[in-house]
Assembly symmetry: none
Homo-oligomer: 195 residues x 4
DNA sequence: GATGAATGAGCATTCATTCAT
DNA sequence: CATGAATGAATGCTCATTCAT
């Protein structure tokens, strides 16, 4: 049982999440992460190859968790409307509960550094495929109307992302709950769900 | 007439646009911008206070142009449907024609550095208000349905942003024209435009 | 009987010999030595004060063995010619059989770090004195001609050292046996041994 | 005329020679070289790729000078005896006048770091070939006797190297002039030069 | 004695910015 | 105005050494 190993690994990831979110990846010093975690700088390198590896691991791990969390919820749904509702709710709530991760997602999703983008693309693509599967199924059963899967997914993800982005960077920590219904109404309309 | 001054100012901004887009803001060296512009490193500091100032000026200037370009087009429209169509078309086309700017917009819109965000917020907010004005007018005339102006604007902008993001970071330079109609259809649906 | 203690001490020394020879003293990590010895990093510090101590101990121990091995062979000789032949043969053969030690001797003999040089000087000076004694005796019995003991010793040692150096750093592991006779002939000539 | 460029290049090389000689390559900090040269740390990197590049350049440049200096002197000689005398005198005197270089030659000639060795081998090999050419010519004209060119060269170089090594690391700065004649006598004897 | 995870001092290198020319 | 050589503060990462188990 290498629990302590796993424990410190997660501790560093947590600290890095906070630190990256506060300063941004580039402006955040490794020593800042170490200080937040209450460990020595060198210790970080027992768990991660380098600074970039922290970011990538962070994203894969946490974003992966998010996608794996949503998946079974969607399987439980009976209708496409329910599935879309689940995605919207889960997305907004998860990010609301993981503000720092939400910030990093906002930040690093847009990094043009090709190496970082490549590493990040995995878990994200998985999420995109999940959304597209939901849409594809809805189209087939004629529950929704959408000419182009990819564009449909972009609308859904983009809308949620924009909501999160503004929430994340506004000072007020007001809950996102209030906007859920409005977002849902717009999304339902976009896909012509008969309500 | 400060023409030569203005000319070189724009030259540096153009070079910076290319360089930031290719390497990302942090990884892009000032000397790279100078080389692209065909001038000496030091010359840049005759026109800009520092590296950050280049980024901010770049964004204000170019994003401002974009908003100022859309504004009259919208004023020419008769219906909300036309106005939304104009926004979608103009947004996609402008970014398609200014790929480097599109990349930077993707990047820097998400920078958590508070100083950068503040500087960027100006021209962006102007665009947001433009969109919200269109929506507000549509709601008033009952051309569209939308419970919350801000969320409506987030959906529209977020969707366009997601489309651009994927286009920008995909290797293929395929035109965005093909998706315009699909985006429009979804947007019309979202706002319950009677067609 | 501190046999187990002694055993592991030698094991570390052997591993260090290999490791230093392969990577050089400065570039060789202590953990590399530990891995070669099949022990934990920390264990090394139960036997040696620090990294430098390993090098010094290594040199004293192994070089001391070499000198102690030659001494009785020389005592058995009847003539100065035999004694010089013994030195040349023993030197070349010992180094050939202890390639890693030969490399370290080459390396560390030249270290300018004053502390290391001091520590190394002991066993080496002993060897130098051995050679000088042989020369002194030969001069006295008029078997050889040499104006200056120290210079004579430098010629002999320097020649052997140069042969070893080139052998050690050439990829081919060709035996040194072939050069023994040539070296001897040159040395005999240098000291005007009547043959 | 990029004289200032060349001037500072040599200044750094001079400072590095002193610094490497005093502390050894590995223990010498780049900032130490900069301080000795009276320039900023960063300036060094305008002239050299990295620390290793300084060492290699230093060796190539200075050792190259040495070999180029000896070559014409040897061409002026009439006999092999004169040529060997020239080599011995030039070697001892050059190193005496360039103590720091002599120390570095002693140090780095033995570095096992394969990359450094490779870079160093150039100018050294040139010197070796020069010596071997002299020997080959002497053998052909029957001025000297030597079964094996390479071993002959090793004896000559090794002897000189050993003399320098001891002089360099002894505290006293006594002149090497006193040993020249003794070295020459031994060398002449080794190669059976009829005197 | 043995371990190996943790430490943290130490250092090469980068690059935004300056300023003498 | 323009230059570009020079600056030096800043930081990611290494690795000899320690010490709780």
């Amino acid at each position: 049982m290498r629990r302590p190993r796993e424990e410190k690994y997660q501790l560093i990831l947590d600290s890095a999440t906070e630190a990256f979110a506060e300063y941004g990846y580039f402006s955040c010093k490794v020593s800042k992460i170490a200080k937040l975690a209450g460990i020595a700088d060198g210790t970080i390198y027992l768990y991660f190859k380098n600074k970039e590896d922290i970011l990538i691991s962070l994203f894969s791990e946490r974003m992966g968790q998010f996608v794996q969390g949503i998946r079974p919820e969607i399987l439980d749904c009976q209708t496409t409307q329910q599935r879309l509702t689940t995605i919207v709710r889960a997305h907004l709530r998860y990010m609301q509960e993981n503000r720092s991760l939400a910030i990093i997602a906002q930040l690093e999703l847009r990094q043009s550094d090709p190496f970082i983008r490549e590493a990040i693309s995995g878990p994200l693509r998985e999420y995109f495929e999940l959304i597209e599967d939901v849409l594809a199924q809805g189209i087939e059963t004629e529950e929704i109307v959408c000419q182009d899967l990819k564009v449909g997914r972009q609308l859904l993800f983009g809308a949620l992302d924009a909501v999160i982005n503004e929430w994340v960077f506004s000072k007020q920590l007001s809950p996102l709950d209030g906007v859920e219904d409005t977002v849902l109404e717009l999304i339902h309309g976009a896909f012509r769900i008969k309500t």
